[in-house]
Symmetry: C2
Subunit: 208 residues, 2 copies
């Protein structure tokens, strides 16, 4: 994860400890950046405004994050770190459903939902943000892939199934609803996405 490097001040790594000042400053700044994104979107994001909101010196924000896209990249890295760990129920059906419900709850959360939309919009026009978003997705997918690997090991899914592709298949219909189709994203939609991904995986559609 590049976050640690980005938030740690290279000039004085000794000051970086969990709960230390550096960590507190980062938490305040990322919280303020999230608030600003939710309220005004990516195009109005401004480092000086974020510094004011976070009650942190402007120089600190400029020195540590440099640009708004640098700040969004760090926010995404933090979101990936904060991301809820996978469940491990021993049942593929239940694990995929938990994953789908978690994604749906995040995308429809009053704060996280608009934040994700703002970040995705930013990624459509900024390459660095796009790379940070891809890394966020990969982190989440890696976290949940062992549920699928477990099912392969138990013989519930065909050998050679691409575990990450199954996890992506759970998320995709949920993102599609929020970003393009506009159909409601509720628990029923989440459960359907999980069931569809599982059926396809069982039929061997995600081998290789």
């Amino acid at each position: 994860m590049p976050t640690k490097g980005a938030s740690a001040d290279a000039a004085d790594p000794g000051t970086v400890r969990p709960g230390g000042r550096t960590a507190r400053v980062r938490a305040s700044v990322l919280r303020a950046a999230g608030d600003a994104l939710v309220e005004h979107g990516f195009h109005s994001l401004d480092l000086a405004d974020v510094a004011r909101r976070a009650e942190v010196g402007k120089t600190t924000v400029y020195r540590r994050w440099g640009t708004t896209t640098g700040l969004i990249a760090d926010l995404l890295a933090d979101m990936a770190e904060q991301s809820v760990p996978r469940t491990d129920s021993g049942s593929l059906t239940e694990d995929l459903r938990s994953n789908a419900r978690l994604v749906a709850a995040t995308l429809t959360d009053p704060r996280q939902g608009p934040l994700f939309k703002a970040v995705i919009a930013a990624a459509t026009c900024d390459e660095r943000t796009a790379r940070a978003l891809h890394r966020f997705c990969e982190t989440r997918i890696k976290e949940w892939a062992p549920c699928v690997e477990g099912a392969i090991a138990r013989g519930e899914l065909p050998a050679g199934t691409d575990a990450r592709e199954v996890i992506r298949a759970v998320s995709a219909p949920l993102y599609y609803r929020v970003l393009a189709g506009g159909d409601p994203l509720d628990e029923a939609a989440a459960d359907r996405a999980a069931a569809a991904a599982e059926s396809a995986a069982r039929a061997g559609a995600h081998i290789g």
Copy 2:
């Protein structure tokens, strides 16, 4: 479709005929709007600039489209009208694959790809654009749903399968790649999306 109403000038409906001046003006303005979106994104879209690019009077553009979001809504309606009609091969597998390849080709097209991204970004922060995008998706989905309905009638898919949901399931992983995950969107990815949607549908995951 609300387009016709939007592009037809209510003051003089007699001038609206295919190939007439009104249609030519609309085509030029939508072309120019698309160019501007691809070059600079949604946030820099400006009606006066679009009028200049289209070589159409500024007053005409302001009177007919009113706002940039009104213009994007009409552009999406036009994209839905221009959208390639479904294939009807009599084979569900082939029809879904054609649909997936068409969506993938559109999303990765040097002009259409950035245009879609700009419109999706705009929809994340503008309600009217979001509704126009949902209508675009619905139009495409309605166009392709009969492939699935045919398969249900032939007994290839369980009775009660939601045809539109199957078509959405084909598109979703392709949009997800482009907007979030960042994995390459090639023909193999398209074929896999089609096969996964078909497997899930055959297993009854899209009933109801």
